[in-house]
């Protein structure tokens, strides 16, 4: 059993979101380890000590991040010395690594950098190729404590290249299998009722979890055991019975972002895509271009945030704009056709809505979003969505929904 301890006042007062432990949890879980607990504590010595003490009573593996920077708000190393009854010593190899890392980055090594080469005598040092803070591995009884810097790139590099392989070798964690089924546009309680009978028939060693996201639910099936083929068969059997129950609301079965599901699907069609964005304001293009290889199919996006840009860049009719307003079926369809024509792409998506917090009316409240999709033969599909009041959520949902809806329409042969 593993516990993760993340250190830093900034985590407790919410100035930094702890994404490290989520990343570590995912990687360790894929490697077959169970994560029992994640604890975030402040930079205070007694807090770190108490967290380490109590974790050591429950867990055999303790992974710590944070509290190792060059600046004076860091006291983790001294705490580790006290816990393991050892002292800090100057480590030539660590210092050589620090010098190497800083070469060309700073004009000269300062005392703070030199201090970073002081490490507890009892630990094994794991080299940090991405920064100046050392990574420390302590063996004690049959347990392990590892202390890493809180900078995500440094932590990830050390976990991937050194720590996870060493843990696997030392603890031989067995295997775990996950399968995620992606469901779209069904409220959680409704879905739960639809699945009651199916759930009752799940084998005992297959666990189900509902993971809600904006407008979507991920159903996660997990199985653990020694006979992985058997577990895999059980999971596949369960998924096979699940799909007809979900029907059209099923949209994928990989635990990856909606944009990745879309990218994998769209890339295979060999077609090209363009975007015309108003309320999504570039986020739709960002979702698509975040995926490597987007240049193979994305021509571009025209983020026409003002009405004159909608006319000038996309050829939207000024009279239609005046008559129906920018957030309307008429305008969003013209935007999609405009993007198709300007870029010469095979498909186009357009969005126009009121993201908020201002700009809502009785007829078109904040959260009203029109979308249009156009495909071969200039066939246009459009739909209006009523999202919520939160600007960021409205933008994110617009982006995700726009991609899933195009994919679903293409799969059904509507576009």
């Amino acid at each position: 059993m593993i516990e993760i301890i993340t250190i830093g006042d900034e985590l407790l007062i919410g100035q930094v979101v702890d994404t490290n432990s989520a990343w570590m949890g995912r990687e360790l879980n894929l490697a077959g380890f169970d994560i029992q607990r994640i604890t975030s504590v402040s930079d205070k010595k007694e807090e770190i000590e108490e967290a380490l003490e109590s974790a050591s009573k429950r867990a055999t593996i303790i992974l710590m991040t944070g509290g190792l920077g060059p600046t004076r708000d860091d006291i983790t190393k001294q705490t580790l010395c006290d816990f393991f009854n050892t002292q800090l010593v100057f480590n030539e190899e660590v210092f050589a690594d620090i010098r190497e890392f800083l070469k060309g980055r700073v004009s000269n090594i300062n005392d703070l950098n030199r201090d970073q080469a002081m490490v507890p005598e009892k630990c094994q040092v794991i080299r940090n190729s991405k920064g100046t803070a050392p990574i420390m591995w302590f063996d004690y009884n049959d347990s392990v404590v590892v202390s890493m810097p809180g900078v995500p790139t440094e932590m990830k590099m050390a976990m991937t290249n050194d720590i996870i392989p060493r843990l696997k070798e030392k603890f031989n964690p067995g295997h775990i299998l996950h399968k995620t089924v992606l469901v779209y546009n069904i409220p959680e309680a409704v879905l739960a009722e639809m699945l009651t009978q199916w759930e009752e028939q799940l084998p005992d060693d297959i666990k189900l979890a509902y993971l809600p996201a904006p407008g979507r639910i991920r159903l996660r099936l997990s199985g653990r055991g020694t006979n992985m083929e058997l577990i895999q068969n059980k999971i596949e059997e369960a998924v096979k019975r699940l799909k007809p129950i979900i029907g059209d609301n099923f949209y994928g079965e990989e635990d990856v972002p909606a944009s990745m599901i879309f990218a994998d699907f769209f890339k295979k069609t060999g077609k090209t895509l363009s975007l015309a964005e108003s309320c999504s304001g570039g986020y739709l293009a960002h979702l698509v271009t975040l995926m490597p290889g987007a240049s193979a199919y994305l021509k571009g996006s025209l983020v026409t945030y003002s009405n004159d840009m909608k006319q000038k860049l996309l050829g939207v009719d000024g009279e239609i704009l005046n008559k129906y307003g920018a957030v309307s079926e008429q305008v969003v369809c013209q935007m999609a056709l405009g993007a198709l024509n300007v870029t010469g792409s095979d498909y186009a998506i357009a969005t126009s809505g009121i993201a908020g917090p201002e700009g809502g009316t009785d007829e078109k409240p904040v959260g009203t979003v029109w979308m249009a999709w156009v495909g071969p033969g200039q066939k246009v599909e459009s739909e209006v969505f009523r999202f919520g009041k939160d600007r960021e959520r409205n933008i994110v949902r617009t982006g995700e929904v726009a991609l899933i809806e195009l994919m679903q329409r293409m799969k059904k042969g509507v576009l």
Copy 2:
């Protein structure tokens, strides 16, 4: 002292990042409370119990989120009953709220929804206007335990409207003051050395923390006390002495995203902006449009992901493209001028780079990003940046740096 307990297997295996506790930490801290610890545990009854037991020995306020959805992977309520030695009873008012909330959303109330109206007899129920899971407040001795759903909108509404006001009334936490100074483009250890003397002169009751972000460092000064005017004066005095040391690398003093600093600055100029994006792929437009009121100054963004779009939409010269490649000073400058001319904006920003993971060469490795800024009189400034190997980080840094650099150039009068 407050402890937060977040519940859910999905947190431990990294399928969901725990953003709730960061939000809660920030709001509670602003309200003058100290957050001592954040613990994330699985949905297992014994884990929740143990976390609650041990937190109750250290903290006077325990805030729990998660484990209250309508589906069967939720067991928090039963655990709370055992801890407080009470039982679940049907609550008519909660059921009325659930019915009201689901009206128009689902066709009929199911058993799972009815179960949600079962609450521990000993608790006070706080109404949940954003969902169906009840919010439960337990008083015991001089302490408080509150259990909330894990859905962020529901948790935030309850915290803001009910829980924080009640906690303030009951515990009278005093005041805390934070001030953040934003520094740009100085490595942490170099900054720490520059600030050594200044730090030594800080008053004892003013605390300093370094909060690194990609390419930036936030310096946070915190003071706590009863005489807030005195604390404020001390912090302001310290900031006044700090600014000349940081010089041009100072770019703001509010703990908000770089894009908000930019938006606040740019909006005041009364000028308009347009964007021409290649490697940032719409993220730059997203950063700008995420801020409410962006339509007042943003004309639009031309996300020209392919070379032919750069020519067609921005008028980039095909020969220049062939000769220097898309990732070059020549092309990025033409892109910026193209955006200015096409949209008629006062200022424009252009980006062209190799985000990765593919597409790097010896001469232009992954992470090479050219940016250009153009302003009145078509004056163009350009600069090349060498970021890292990670696609997402390169995109994010490109967006943030592009905005800060335009702002700095405008402030200096270069553009």
